[in-house]
Symmetry: C2
Subunit: 390 residues, 2 copies
């Protein structure tokens, strides 16, 4: 069969707030081939991603993503990776292409799984999907007291606190926040801390926080630095004692993930399948990390379609148990799918066992969030929001 | 003063051919502040770059580039870097942003230089601009005989041959091509070889070409591998003998450039100021390379505005003499400026000494290449090709 159509749907909350909540809009992708339909999601700015799919060619290594996807053969499972390689080669100089490809690759795996009647994690070679321990992401409170109250009220066995005031004042303020989170969670809760790159490349500032993090038994310290600061990561890792470094959510190709594993001394590699180039590349990153003793973790902040896709990539890794779970997404993110992944009574999350990504896209539910777009170049209509249907 | 407007102009040849010629279209940027105008150029896919400037916000770290530029204060030269830092922070998750910023940063330096009556290279701290030795980029011929004839007819003292059949057949074919190029150039010509990433990550295949490259006295071997394959670069560099590795044109932030210097064993760092984030980041990359004994080279394949900008970044480096010169650009690339940089009788290229980037944009000359664009989201007009004027 051949890829007949790839359609992008820009979805948005009525109002976008200037806060660090990535679930306020979404870019959904529908791929059709041989009578089958697959769905994926780009964790990306919608308009530039759509533009990178439909733009005119600039030269032989700067083609629109569509040029390497529409009309391509899809007769074997290996065609999905072949198409991804083609996009990377023919859109080499189109920076946004990796983000755009991510949702397409996801949809291709979903489509192929639906056709085979097999879950994507099984297509990836896993014979079993192990349950994951979801952690809830939340902001630090403005005060330690607020953080304590948030942690105390938590329904999850693992929690990540980040952003807010952390890393922006004196180190004693950070220490008070870490202690409040630990006290609220209790001694058995898994505590994760996210600095959100606030320390830039400042190794000494980051080092000052290590004693309190170790005292509180934090499992990981996430993104103390911007992701390219490999040397600073490695130096901090060498000083860090029991707390491990975590990073990788910004990786938009396999090399960025590898560099973190090879040169940054991280203990946890966090990959967003909606950014790195889809399930195919996320799986490569998982294998690379696993072979080198680095624990793989999904990065997911949006819909349960994206969640299913990111869990599939490492579903068969029994020891890599922890996973990110979007705990307070906007209504849009929940409206995208009719099925939702909820932790069981044991607190663990199961990867769907149905065909493809195992969650149904809810076309009627997401319709109210659909944003009309139109792009014209040189008098030609290159994009208009397509008709929404299963 | 404040940044009052940033306007993007999508320019294109009437027909875009599926060849590796990046001068077939262009994205020009005009910035206005306090009655002054500056011009820059993104070496990037025009439509996705425009979209990344005007798109709606997705969340606090995925804002349109415009949000961090329009209305910003421009009272000191350090404001240019401050604005770049702001774009990188507030558009962190917008992949295309680095390419879009590149042209804006270039225009800001041009504007500031015009206002001060000073060339950009002087604003960057150089007291003198040393002449550069331009090399001509050309494709290998389909046969060694064709390559010999091309090299023989060359008016430049240095030439880079690349792409075409190279690296795609047996190693003996490559060796015959290298020898033909050397014979055509004569013993004194500077010979550069560009593989255009054709060997992917295949270290053994690349190693097989080393004896012939050394025999022919090639100064550098460019992009044998995809740019993320740092380990393969380092291993090849250790085996390479006299020929040095060159890479870096795809770098879209300072970290990618640093990683090549730190982990890939390259001898030449090639940076495109129209991709890495503009003149500011290109200058940082030049300083980083220089401090570590790596020679800096511009990557320029488009207009003489982009050429002036990329030369300015390392104009004061006396020992880093070689520079890329777009030898056969399309008419569009030449139409962008009224002034052109031509090698002198000594074969050397001088960086312009006039204020700013020292070349005048030819508004009437480029008008025939202007492409009309229109982007609407949710019923609102976000972009329409602005009026073209000085």
């Amino acid at each position: 069969m051949r890829i007949e159509s790839v359609d992008f749907f820009y979805l948005s909350m009525p109002e976008i707030l200037d806060i660090g909540d990535g679930s306020q809009d979404a870019l959904l992708v529908r791929v059709r081939a041989g009578g089958w339909t697959g769905w994926g999601e780009c964790e990306a700015a919608p308009l530039p991603s759509i533009a990178s799919f439909v733009c005119p060619m600039s030269h032989s290594a700067c083609k629109p993503v569509s040029a390497s996807v529409i009309g391509q053969r899809l007769d074997e499972i290996s065609d999905i990776r072949r198409i991804g390689d083609l996009v990377r080669a023919e859109s080499l100089d189109l920076l946004q292409a990796d983000h755009t490809l991510s949702g397409i690759d996801m949809a291709l795996w979903d489509l192929w799984g639906c056709r085979e009647g097999t879950p994507v994690w099984n297509l990836l070679g896993y014979t079993r999907a192990f349950p994951k321990l979801p952690y809830a992401s939340m902001l630090f409170g403005d005060t330690p007291e607020e953080t304590f109250a948030k942690a105390r009220g938590m329904a999850f066995r693992a929690a990540k606190f980040g952003w807010g005031p952390i890393g922006r004042g004196p180190v004693s303020d950070d220490a008070a926040q870490f202690r409040a989170a630990r006290e609220g969670l209790g001694p058995d809760g898994v505590l994760l801390v996210d600095i959100g790159t606030a320390w830039g490349e400042d190794l000494e500032r980051a080092s000052m926080a290590l004693p309190a993090l170790n005292e509180c038994g934090a499992l990981w310290l996430e993104e103390p630095f911007v992701s390219g600061a490999l040397g600073e990561y490695a130096a901090l890792a060498a000083r860090a004692g029991g707390v491990k470094l975590a990073a990788g959510e910004g990786s938009h190709n396999i090399y960025m993930a590898r560099h973190l594993v090879d040169h940054a001394g991280i203990g946890f590699l966090q990959i967003d399948a909606g950014r790195i180039g889809g399930i195919s590349v996320a799986k490569d990153a998982a294998d690379y990390a696993s072979a080198r003793g680095v624990t793989y973790v999904n990065h997911t902040f949006t819909s349960h379609l994206a969640l299913s896709a990111s869990l599939a990539t490492y579903a068969g890794f029994e020891r890599d148990e922890i996973c990110e779970y979007p705990v307070e997404p906007k209504s849009l993110a929940l409206a995208i799918t009719a099925d939702h992944l909820r932790p069981g009574e044991d607190g663990l999350l199961r990867v769907p066992a149905g065909p493809g990504l195992g969650v149904r896209v809810d076309v009627e539910g997401l319709r109210p969030y659909l944003v009309d777009c139109e792009i014209r170049v040189g008098g030609r209509l290159l994009y208009r929001t397509p008709e929404l249907a299963d």
